[in-house]
């Protein structure tokens, strides 16, 4: 991988230290700023995510959660600040290097974002088709395995338009894990699903973490889901992280902004527009 050469040459002690911190912090977001036209969406986000951890970012609609997660995979580049993944600042990587890195990511989109001109198995095997030399049969077999991992059988030949919302999300998840990623990003994984399907997706997210040993970032405003899947929860409001803590710490938080959000009240410092 080419990423390595971007690291500054360090003496051995330094290198060991860097390696040590890399082990702890897979993703480190520092002072991230992003504005669209005149709307300053992110105003200095700082957030660290440790290896193997599931970080859930909560926040209201339009609080910039999606913008934040899109920075982590290089869909957006920051106006200011940096995103460091495994010791590499990805905010100004060249496209080739970024793509090498992206092969270690998986992302589940809110609406699953399946390619509707391809069948289910072609969707799941998309990156294998693009980035490996495996034969069509091998890819199909792998796609089947991944689909089974998310609890789907016999849907390989269907088109995405023939699937229900929950199934689409599962296929999206199967596609995200097809390249055996180290980092999975979930954009509102339970939004738009009925409570039972939402819980099934939550279980899948937990299972993925256990089986693949991945680091995950999820953004959601579904508190049930957040409590269930999170190792840590971070609350994003007015462009900054207001508080980070374990689900229990968040439940006991005295911060009025966090309290209002997790109790789902329209009365408090957050104005419902």
């Amino acid at each position: 991988m080419k990423i390595g050469r971007l690291k500054p040459p360090l003496p051995r002690v330094g290198a060991t230290l860097v390696a040590y911190f890399q082990m702890i912090h897979v993703i480190e977001i520092v002072n991230l700023h992003k504005a669209f036209n005149k709307k300053h969406v992110l105003q200095g986000v700082d957030l660290q995510i440790e290896r193997g951890e599931t970080m859930v970012v909560i926040g209201g609609s339009g609080s910039g959660k999606s913008v934040l997660i899109k920075h982590v995979i290089g869909l957006l580049s920051p106006d200011e600040g940096s995103i460091v993944v495994d010791g590499v600042d990805i905010s100004h990587l060249r496209e080739n290097d970024m793509n090498e890195l992206r092969k270690r990511y998986g992302m589940l989109f809110q609406g699953a974002a399946l390619f509707d001109s391809l069948t289910v198995w072609e969707n799941v095997g998309f990156s294998l088709m693009q980035h490996t030399t495996l034969s069509k049969e091998e890819i199909k077999e792998k796609a089947k395995q991944k689909l089974e991992m998310v609890g789907l059988k016999g849907v390989e030949e269907l088109m995405p338009s023939e699937l229900s919302g929950g199934m689409r999300k599962r296929v999206g998840l199967a596609r995200a894990i097809a390249m055996e990623p180290q980092i999975i990003l979930y954009d509102e994984p339970t939004t738009g699903l009925d409570p039972i399907m939402a819980d099934a997706i939550n279980d899948l997210i937990i299972e993925m973490k256990k089986r693949l040993n991945v680091t995950s970032i999820a953004i959601t405003h579904d508190m049930v889901s957040a409590y269930k899947i999170a190792d840590k929860i971070a609350m994003l409001y007015e462009g900054r992280i207001q508080e980070v803590g374990t689900p229990d710490e968040i439940k006991r938080s005295v911060n009025p902004i966090v309290r209002q959000f997790i109790t789902g009240s329209s009365v408090g410092p957050i104005k419902a527009v």
């Binding site: 899109k70 995979i73 290089g74 869909l75 496209e95 793509n99 090498e100 992206r102 092969k103 990511y105 998986g106 992302m107 989109f109 809110q110 609406g111 974002a113 399946l114 390619f115 509707d116 998309f126 990156s127 693009q130 980035h131 596609r175 990003l185």
Partner: protein, 267 residues
């Protein structure tokens, strides 16, 4: 006092409006050219995605064929009637063959094919890419470490470039045949003279000039439509706007480019 203030605001508002539109237009042109450049550079990078290219050739070419055939046939036929009416007034019916063929080869074949394909395939490209944008499928491509310009735009670009000249050849021949049939069988022009005149007065340049035009139109259609689709914003309404915008803009650009190409190639 109030009058001058009012005039002032009116004036500045007008200026701001014109300025805003100009900035947006320039932004569009700039982004369009950037996309064109990226498309060209990705076109020559391996691996070539043959499957996608064939799919697009089918979408742009094969599916446009019936419309192009009907358009060309009837255009050639009406061309014969009108030329005949005009030429009969100074007894020059025998010279109508080359006129019909020239009009078809130089202008009507490539231009009408371009307009039809922009309405049919260009609209489809813009709508498809626009939908992919608003449903985050383009973002998904990026997260799967695949360049969306290479995966989506390049095949459409190649298809436009290859298919437009092919369709134009078909349109040209159909139109000329239609013109011949009407001239000879309806208007009773002498068949032998018609064919000989056409052969004598046509140059190979007439054909090639038309085909060069067709290539340019193919590029215009694919780049404009992909650009409009690629930068769609705002859900279903945005897709609608992008589609309309793509068709209107490619048609306008085709007609404008047509003049300059004609001036350049045929003089």
């Amino acid at each position: 006092m109030t009058d001058t203030v009012l005039a002032g605001t009116m004036f500045t508002k007008t200026l701001a409006y014109i300025g805003g539109r100009t900035i947006r237009l320039m932004g569009d042109v700039g982004r369009g050219f950037i996309m064109f450049g990226q498309t060209i550079s990705w076109t020559f990078k391996l691996p070539v995605n043959l499957g996608n290219i064939f799919q697009q050739v089918e979408a742009v070419g094969v599916n446009s064929l019936p419309v192009v055939l009907i358009m060309a046939l009837f255009t050639g036929m009406v061309l014969a009637i009108q030329t005949y009416t005009g030429f009969k007034r100074f007894n020059a019916e025998n010279y109508m063959g080359p006129v019909v063929a020239l009009s078809m080869l130089r202008e009507l074949g490539p231009v009408l094919t371009g307009l039809i394909v922009s309405g049919r395939a260009g609209a489809a490209m813009a709508a498809e890419l626009g939908t992919m944008r608003v449903t985050e499928q383009i973002d998904a491509l990026v997260t799967l470490a695949t360049n969306p310009v290479k995966y989506l735009v390049v095949p459409r670009f190649i298809a436009g470039l290859v298919v437009l000249p092919l369709l134009t050849v078909i349109a040209d021949s159909t139109g000329i045949i239609g013109g011949y049939l009407v001239s000879v069988h309806v208007l009773h022009v002498n068949s032998e003279i018609y064919i000989r005149m056409t052969r004598d007065y046509l140059e190979l340049n007439d054909v090639f000039g038309g085909l060069i035009k067709a290539c340019v139109f193919g590029i215009i259609i694919s780049v404009v439509s992909c650009y409009k689709g690629f930068f769609t914003e705002g859900g279903a309404e945005g897709v609608g706007k992008a589609t309309t915008g793509a068709v209107v803009m490619s048609m306008m650009l085709i007609l404008i480019a047509n003049y300059f190409l004609a001036a350049l190639i045929f003089r």
